[in-house]
Amino acid sequence: MYAIMARSISAAYPTSTDLVLNRIDLELPPGELIALVGPNGAGKSTLFKIIVGQKKALRGQLRIFGEPTHVQQRRGVVAYAPQEGFIDWDFPIEVRDVVLTGRYNHLRSSVASRLFPFAINKSQWLVIDKALEMVGMKSFARKPISALSGGQKKRVFLARALAQEASILLLDEPFNGVDKESEETIIQILLALKERGCTIIMASHDLNRMREIADRAIVLNKRIIADGSPEKVLDEKIISELFQLS
């Protein structure tokens, strides 16, 4: 069964008639690291929003492990790490509470946490601590997110995805503004997750990185331009033409 299967998905912004996504077909099996490449405005973030279920497609069909998105949503199957610009970094929240937002689907099942939303079970904090430890951010657990550097921010959101125990991971620009050390940590974790059967999609401009670590590359510019092995698809010539067009 495919982790993500899209049949002819189209999408548009509400105030415009132009399609952001034009008949997207995808068949992504579990346990693959996929690079999603395309110029700005190519629809990468829109595709992510549709997979997550935040945005509805105009037309087409999307199945996540064979089921429609709203069924999978409640189980927290899809984890999402936003690009830096999508988050208000002055928001009053501590690092460990960010990671806690990945545990909401686990919290929901208990009546006690519905009645006492501020009493978080010890076992939850253990999961969160472990996730933060894996990305090397445990000592930052009680720090506000405004105190983090670019790489640390990415690692915290990766920890959230880990704590969520999701089977599909969407990463929007995971290597933007990231220092060397954070980058290594992030790649190690992604490879480990892939081994466990996690499907990972990375939207990125970092073509060299993508060629190194991805199993498959999809070039998107409102429709799918190319889909295949990174060496073939991420050819400098094709890409540079594509990026100049935009």
Binding site: P14, T15, F48, K49, V52, G53, Q54, H70, Q73, R74, R75, G76, V78, A79, Y80, P82, F86, I87, D88, F91, P92, I93, E94, D97, V98, T101, G102, Y104, N105, L107, R114, L115, P117, F118, P144, S146, R160
Partner: protein
């Protein structure tokens, strides 16, 4: 209906008696002000409104909805005038008008190329103009003044019960949905990934704000309620780095300015809504100057030191 009113009255009396126990501990010069029945009702209303607006103001500030509160509060006016014409309670008319305008603004923003500030501007000035025109035809100017600027000293038992009911409902909803509201404001895409109905939360929050505005009509009036829906949250935002703490501080600022403002308005014979808002503004100013991490004073000193080190 009568049963509900009886119950509400009993609850109000109970709360006022409780308040008076605390008030009577205070020095006699302060306590004597609150011996009048109308002052006791005013005190309870102000406290409820202060807490209610204090909680919601945190979400308003973080969501960037300051203009929304402004817009909805002005849009409430034709609802009040309409309710007066039809002879139904002000609050019902106000709520319907406020809710419709909040939904209308969301609709315009989502479906046209007009940006949020302009859509709000059009919506609330239109409603406000409509309200003023309606009122100029039907009512005396004193009514208009009371709606615009509040008259907490003349608060009636029925509107006090309404304020109490709204407060309990809003605070209860905020308590039970705190986690969801937090995630929706912080990271709406993750909220969707967790199966949270984000459009439900979006309009739900708007309706809670509308309810708070309706409940505040008689205390601070529709113009100054905007301040109570921004200032406490903005003050708290300067002081802490955790949303739950921010809500607690916002609540306290709302509560404190309501009580102190009411007291000052009685002692110096000034308009109560204005006094309450000015107290809140004064607290904000103090926080802006002296906040430990974000304060202007701290930044000045910090920058001076840095220059010195160079």
């Amino acid at each position: 209906m009568i049963m509900i009113m009886r119950f509400g009255e009993a609850l109000v009396t109970f709360l006022i008696n409780g308040l008076m126990v605390i008030v009577n501990i205070l020095p006699p010069s302060i306590a004597e002000v609150f011996q009048f029945a109308f002052m006791q009702r005013a005190l309870l209303t102000s406290i409820l409104v202060g807490i209610l607006c204090g909680v919601l103001s945190c979400f308003v500030v973080l969501k960037g909805w300051s203009l929304l509160g402004d817009a909805v509060s002005h849009a409430v006016l034709p609802g009040v005038a309409g309710a007066y014409l039809l002879g139904i309670p002000f609050a019902i008319g106000a709520f319907i008008a406020g809710a419709l305008s909040a939904l209308g603004m969301g609709f315009i923003e989502r479906n046209t190329r007009i940006k949020q500030d302009a859509s709000m501007g059009i919506m609330f000035t239109t409603c406000f103009a409509l309200g003023i025109v309606m009122i100029s035809r039907i009512a005396t100017t004193t009514h208009l003044m009371h709606i615009l600027f509040g008259n907490v000293l003349g608060v009636s038992m029925s509107s006090l019960i309404l304020t109490l009911a709204v407060s309990v409902a809003v605070l209860g909803l905020v308590y039970f949905f705190f986690r969801e509201i937090l995630l929706y404001i912080f990271d709406p895409i993750q909220a969707a990934a967790m199966g949270i109905k984000t459009s439900f939360l979006h309009y739900g929050l708007m309706l809670l704000i509308t309810l708070a505005i309706v409940a505040s009509l008689e205390t601070v009036g529709i113009i100054l309620v905007v301040a109570m829906l921004i200032t406490p949250g903005a003050t708290a935002y300067l002081l802490v780095n955790k949303l739950s703490h921010m809500v607690l501080i916002g609540t306290f600022v709302g509560f404190f300015s309501a009580v102190v403002g009411l007291y000052l308005s009685f002692v110096y014979n000034i308009v109560s809504g204005g006094a309450i808002v000015l107290v809140a503004s004064a607290i904000f100013l103090l926080a802006a100057l002296f906040a430990p991490q974000q304060g202007i004073l701290r930044n000045l000193i910090f920058n001076r030191f840095q220059r010195f080190e160079k």
